[in-house]
Amino acid sequence: MAPVAPRSGDAIFASVERVNAELFTLTYGAIVRQLLTDLEEVEEVNKQLDQMGYNIGIRLIDEFLAKSNVARCVDFKETAEVIAKVGFKMFLGVTASVSNWDADGTCCSIVLEDNPLVDFVELPDTCQGLYYCNVLSGVIRGALEMVSMKTEVTWVRDMLRGDDAFELQVKLLKQVPEEYPYKDDE
């Protein structure tokens, strides 16, 4: 079958249903704040945000694939590029850049200059150690896991902590092969 050509991030973003970013931003903010109130421990909040992100990711990936028509990526490099250029654009309307590849191409940084999640946000001193955008790392982790890549996503830079950009380090742990559908005893 003639594979449908992959579409550019902007094209997709233009085509999908969109809503005011404020709603998204404020909602996320309110959630984070409520989590802080309920869970008290910043560490715990980071954990939960990541968890939420993961749960979102494992569902979102399919929509991404369906709407973007991206073919299976040949390698992790390509995957990262697709996430940065198409994924972020398609959902958040911003594009990220990929950099800091390590030698064997299993670890890179996704750098985000602009991030709708943090409009208006200022971290109070009581919340040092909070990874406000931790949901993002979760999403990436979850999504990649669904296409059988176990990854570890960590924050390297965070504008809310005074850095000049948001930088996520994505580390490919292992590429899980398609599990062979039947056991030996069959």
Partner: protein, 174 residues
Amino acid sequence: MGREVSESCVDSLLTEMVSSYCDRFYANKPDLAARRIEAIGFQVGLQLSERYTMERPRFSDHLEAIKFICKDFWSELFKKQIDNLKTNHRGTFVLQDNRFRWLARMSVDPSPENGDLSQDNPPAENKAAQATSMHLYFPCGIIRGALSNLGIPCAVTADISNLPACSFVVRIKA
């Protein structure tokens, strides 16, 4: 034109928020979960009302404020207005949205196998209803937040006659 994000961002965020609160944090305390979700909505409503009432004269009475919610506020959020507004002129307003966006993707499955909600086990019907209502505490909170920020303390409840129609009942505290 302000910046935008894909709708599925909001959708999945809300879905996940609700399920986290109902299934993880307050798994078997639906009322607590509900309060939290409502609270989140409240804050959002508060801030949105602050934002969307810029550049407009102050409302002279409750009705004006409610109308604002129905028209401008709603269309900012959902790109559509409330379809029908009823009131008993004694502080109760019913805002009906015939196709409430946040329910648009929701199909409730009455069959008990539906494992989404971890309530004890009431009959599947109201089990499903409860699950859906969990998703409505957020918009209720938004409305309440917006109104109380406009100086109208009130209580907001939602009721779903048949998806995806949904009507919000605003009771203004005398």
